[in-house]
């Protein structure tokens, strides 16, 4: 599909349909997960009571922001090696959305943590390794956006951005390792989703934070919804960029004539 879409014309055709569809389904899924998450499922007192309902945004956005950085690096790689113009358009569009989801992850995490971690937990934002690595990810996005904005031409912005995104990707696991090795007591809970299906009920209960399958369902709906929403937003930005490139070209052609 990717080689099929590499042609901007086909992309425009595809995305004209894809944007509204992704928007609609994404909104539906997010709405459904939020409705269930906020209204239906019982609050989990062990995890902050009603505040834990932030989870249905927090966890999808946490997954997405990491995925989007990988996507940014992949698009940059494709552009750098094969010079597919569309890959650069995609990279350019992914960056602000990725930064947005990183911020969303942080904000929802903060809301969730309000009660769960007790008063004054925010003292620890800068002292917690999980939180720090998300913050560093945010800065990688930010640096990428700022670098692109500072370059004079689109070509240069594309190339400089690609170099930074690729180098940054290899830096991500290092940051992850270093931050985990950093002497902090993370108050963030470890990954639990993956164990939900496989682990026996007892083991979960033992942990005292086992995830109710009902939660998991909403999480997955939410993840799907946010994934589609992010795709729709990215496609939209890409379309805007392609339009502006086209109009630039038209304008230049008209100047050339006159």
């Amino acid at each position: 599909m990717w080689s099929f879409l590499a042609n901007p014309h086909r992309f425009m055709g595809f995305s004209r349909l894809a944007v509204p569809i992704c928007f609609a389904i994404g909104a539906l899924l997010i709405g459904w997960s939020l409705y269930n998450g906020l209204m239906v499922v019982p609050p989990d007192e062990a995890q902050g009571g009603d505040l834990m309902r932030a989870m249905f945004t927090h966890v999808p956005s946490a997954w997405l922001c990491m995925g989007l950085y990988a996507g940014l690096a992949a698009a940059s790689f494709v552009w750098f090696v094969w010079r597919h113009e569309l890959a650069d358009v995609a990279a350019r569009a992914i960056a602000p959305i990725g930064a947005g989801y990183t911020a969303l992850c942080f904000v929802t995490g903060a809301i969730w943590g309000q009660k769960g971690w007790g008063q004054g937990w925010h003292n620890l934002i800068l002292g917690d390794s999980r939180l720090m690595s998300v913050l560093v990810l945010f800065f990688l996005f930010l640096g990428y956006i700022a670098l692109r904005a500072a370059m004079e031409t689109r070509q240069k912005a594309a190339k400089a951005g690609a170099i930074l995104a690729m180098v940054g990707l290899i830096n991500v696991p290092i940051i992850k390792v270093s931050v985990d090795l950093w002497e902090t007591t993370t108050i963030h809970q470890p990954s639990s989703v993956i164990r939900i299906g496989g682990a026996p009920e007892g083991a979960e209960a033992e942990e005292g934070q086992g995830m109710n399958p009902m939660y998991l369902q909403q999480l997955l709906w939410g993840f799907g919804g946010h994934g589609l929403l992010a795709s729709a937003l990215i496609f939209m930005l890409m379309r805007a960029e392609i339009y502006s490139q086209r109009s630039d070209r038209l304008l230049a052609a008209r100047l050339e004539e006159s």
Partner: protein
Amino acid sequence: MKASPAPLSSAFRQALSEAWAGGSGLLLPLGFFAGTAMLIPFSLGSDAELLARIGPGVLWLALALASMVTLERVFQADLQDGALDLWIQSGDSISLIAASKTFAHWLISGLPLVILTPAIGYMLGVPMSEMLPAMLGYAMGGITFFLWGGVAAALAASVARAGLLIAVIALPFYVPAIIFGVRVAEEGLNGVGLPFLGASMLFALGVAPPAMGAALRLAAE
């Protein structure tokens, strides 16, 4: 020396658009201060009480850094591209022009710390009551830093790679502002820090522009 405000406002505008063009507007300075705040716990450890106590002090270093990093190239670029020659011959006070350029750069690169102070302070666990004094301290201290940094940058304009030179010239001048600035944050608006911080800012406002002017004339020779 004419008294018309047009040259000053144009110099201000040009510097503003220069600072803006160099880095996607305010996003960059905001990112810079947030980024430095992010480095603090890494280098100082994650002890919450400690962070709340010294974090704001470290941000003074970030502000000092921002002033030097920003100003290093301003006058040197003017010298190299010949714009300084034009300014000196414009018939307006080169001191005032330099001051208004410095002010523009403070707006872009120094003021964002003031704006970010509540957010960073919240993350570091600084008590709410200290926030407003801290902001005032960063604002007045920032202006002072940028003025002295401008003097150092003007003095170093004709030296090829002046980065650390500027720092060494400027740092001693930063000391009073830091001392009083920290005091303002600690003892609030009623303490003795505020008038002294104000005095050192006014002193910089009075002395730095003519010094910049003289240094720039010298650089153009």
